[in-house]
Every structure is written in C-alpha cells, then in structure tokens.
C-alpha cells in the first residue's frame, strides 16, 4: 500500500476501528468495572480506617478476636485467615494457568484448571461462612455498661480470658424474654443470654480470681486490666450481658468493629460467591467447546481478571482487618 494514504486505520488513532490501548473491547470493559469496584472497596476500607482512627484507643485487637481454627481447640490467632489467604492466592494461580492453557488452545487443561479454581473459591467461601458463624457465636461473653462500654473478664492467676459462663453464679431467677405480645407493645429483646446479668455480678463477687479488663488499650498495646476494687466499681454500671456479635452490639468491643466486619467481609464474600458462579458458567462453556468453536479463550481471560481482582481485594481486607 502507498505510504501517502492518511485515512488508513494504522495511522490515524482517532479514525476508529483500531485499538489504541491494544486491548479488546471486553477486556477494557472488565478493567473499567474492576477500577470502579476497586474504588468502592477503597471507600469501604477508608471509612473503616475513619472509624478506627476515631476510636483508636478502644478498638478491638484482631489477634484476640479471630483465634479459632476448625476442628482444633485452643488459641491460634491468624492461622486460619492465613490459610484462607493462601487458598485464594492458590486459586488465583490455577486461574492464570487456565488462561495460559487457553492461549495455547488446550481445552482439557483449561477444564482441569477451571475446576481447581472453582474448588478453591468454594473452600474460601465456606471458610468465610465458618468464620462468620464463629464470630456471631462469640466465645467469652462480656458485660455492657450504661455508656455502651464493654467489660471483659480475665483470670487473675493465668491472665487468660474467662468466659462469663465459667464463673457466673446459679441463681433461682424467673427470667422471661420480653416480646411484643407481653408488656409494652413496642418493646422486645433478643433471645435471653445463657446467664443473666445478676448471675454474672454475683459470680464475680464470689470469685476473687476474676478481674475486669476495659476496652482501653494501654501503652504496651494491650487492653487495660483493672484491679479487684476498680473491677467491682465498674460492675455497678453494668446493664446487660453481651454474647457473640450482631449489628447492634458485640462482645469484642466497639460496635462499629462488628458492623464493618460484617459489611466488608460480607461484600467481599459476595464477590467471591459471584466469581464462583461465573467460573462455573465458563467451566461448562469450556467443556461444551464454546471457545474452541470461537477460536479463542478470551472469555476465560476476562473472568480471570475478575477472579484475580477478588484475590487482590482480599489481600487488602486481610491486612486491614487482621494484621494492622
């Protein structure tokens, strides 16, 4: 072709019909979505940082909240989340391998790697469900004061946390759950806690080995431990027993902590779930030979981008919820 032609696609970027960024329409749109979704997650994490900096002195310590590993008793902070992180990174790896096999038009390999990716995603979502269940159930229980502060209990001799059920006195009380059909029509309460406030207070008075620790973090980066007299003094302000976590209050400390935990890990878990669903669809398309007929596996590459993005977000959630 003659070099004097100026309307050729190769030479005029603004003439249309070419790809100035060297990426196909579908991939570009996926990148648009990923960038906007990244900004959404950043907004959530930044507002988490906002709330945390507001209550920097009383924020719960993640190591003391997430200490459980399924099938094992005892105190293993972070181990399970680290495992979850590894599972997600691993499924990201099988996804890139699927994309790579797609470039080489190896249908069987793509099927196999997509399958492994789906399994990894399912393990992650399952782990997150377990993590939520453990968080909602709680383990030690706490007492809430008039001002909405939380008081947790510690064994004086070992320094370990004490569950409220372990020292509460057994009182013969008539406890009735307040529901809307009894008493005032617009008031009700959640299910009764395993021990009542009075039982905890009486049990505390009877057991000199129990101390209270407040939400305030001291200079060593640990929660402040009160002595026996201070503890008894603080107990006068107690209004209710808190067990586990919900959107209103939680036994770990600041209410916003549980709210953000549910919201951000929930939003991320929803992304993983939809990622698994999309992966399953693509998986069946690969088996049916759709992309073999189409002549390229770009669709695998596009869902791959989404899947890596989910992994990328988890790296940040992991840091800001569990590490920092």
């Amino acid at each position: 072709m003659d070099t004097t032609v100026t309307t050729g696609n190769e030479e005029n970027v603004w003439g249309g019909g070419n790809r100035p960024l060297g990426a196909s329409y579908g991939k570009l749109m996926m990148w648009f979505f990923i960038v906007s979704d990244a900004l959404t997650f950043s907004g959530f994490l930044a507002s988490y940082g906002f709330s945390r900096f507001k209550f920097i002195e009383t924020w719960p310590i993640a190591d003391e909240v997430f200490t459980h590993v399924p099938f094992f008793h005892g105190n293993y902070p972070m181990i399970y989340v680290a495992f979850m992180t590894f599972v997600l990174i691993m499924s990201s790896v099988t996804m890139v391998l699927a994309v790579d096999a797609g470039h080489k038009m190896k249908q069987k390999a793509v099927v196999w790697y997509m399958f492994l990716t789906i399994i990894g995603g399912a393990i992650f979502v399952g782990s997150q469900a377990w993590e939520w269940a453990t968080f909602i159930k709680g383990d030690y229980g706490a007492i809430e004061t008039k001002g909405g502060r939380l008081l947790q209990f510690v064994q004086a001799d070992t320094g370990e946390r004490a569950a409220i059920t372990s020292f509460a006195a057994a009182l013969t009380e008539d406890r009735v759950q307040d529901t809307r059909d009894k008493g005032v029509w617009y008031t009700d309460e959640a299910a009764l806690t395993t021990v009542s406030l009075n039982e905890v207070i009486e049990g505390f008075k009877a057991d000199p080995n129990i101390l209270i620790r407040t939400e305030t973090i001291n200079e060593e980066g640990e929660k402040t431990l009160l002595n026996r007299e201070q503890s008894l003094g603080r107990l006068k302000d107690a209004v209710r027993v808190v067990e586990g976590a919900n959107l209103v209050r939680n036994e770990y400390g600041s209410r916003l902590f549980a709210d953000f935990f549910f919201f951000i890990t929930g939003f991320h878990g929803f992304h993983v779930f939809s990622g698994v669903v999309i992966n399953v669809i693509i998986f069946f398309n690969v088996i049916l030979g759709t992309y073999e007929k189409r002549g390229h596996y770009e669709m695998v590459e596009k869902v791959g981008l989404y899947w890596h993005f989910v992994d990328l977000v988890w790296v940040f959630v992991f840091t800001f919820f569990y590490l920092v």
């Binding site: 960024l21 900096f53 790579d100």
Partner: protein, 127 residues
C-alpha cells in the same frame, strides 16, 4: 491475545523460561510475603511496635508496604498488566491511587480530629 509475555520480575533479577514457570515463581514469592506478615503479626516484635513513624507503628507500615508489594505482583503477573501497553497500565493504576490516597488522607485527618474532640471535650464517654 497472542502477545508475548514478559518473563522478568524484580527488574530483571529473576528471569523465567516460560509463563507457567513465572506463575509458580510469583506464587512462591507471594506465599513467602504472606508468611512473613503472619509471623510478624503473631510475634509483634517490640522494636517494631514501640517505634512509630508518621503517627503509625512501624509494624503497621511494614504490613501496608508488604500488602502493596503483593498487590503489585497480583496485578502485574496474574492480571497480566506487565504485558499491557503502558498507557492502559497507567490509566488503570494511577486513577485509583490518586483518588484513594486523597480519600484516605481526608478521612484519617478528620478522624484524628474527632478523636481529639472525644478525648479532650467536656463529655464523658467512658461510664
């Protein structure tokens, strides 16, 4: 689609023979970084928690920097940003970096102010 993969990481320090080898190499690197984070998070060495830099513990700075390092390798090697045109890469990367750093700056600045008000104001919060 069929463009070439760039097989060097760490600015050419490590060069892989194939794309698959590079994927496994990056996985090993990411696993090591995560392991370092978890070990530091469990041990919490005192010289890192006692010293603070720009109002945050040194340990937390390390966590954030390691997170950004992991994010870089996920985006560059798993999401193939390394193989894209630099114009696309810059559009994707710098837009969020600019917006997020601005948002984080104003929110954390404001939060610190509110913290001071709670702490020094004439209201009791701890009762």
């Amino acid at each position: 689609m069929a463009h070439e993969h760039k097989l060097e990481i760490f600015r050419g320090l490590v060069k892989f023979k194939s794309n698959i080898q590079k994927i496994w190499g990056v996985l090993i690197f990411l696993t090591i970084v995560t392991a370092v984070e978890v070990v530091l998070g469990i041990l919490k060495p005192e010289f890192l928690t006692k010293t603070s830099f720009l109002g945050m513990k040194l340990l937390n700075w390390i966590f954030i920097i390691l997170t950004l390092v992991k994010a870089y390798y996920i985006a560059w090697d798993f999401m193939h940003l390394r193989d894209e045109k630099s114009s696309l890469r810059r559009a994707i990367v710098w837009t969020p970096i600019f917006l997020v750093s601005y948002l984080v700056f104003i929110l954390l600045f404001e939060a610190t102010y509110i913290y001071e008000v709670f702490k020094n104001g004439f209201f009791a919060w701890d009762f």
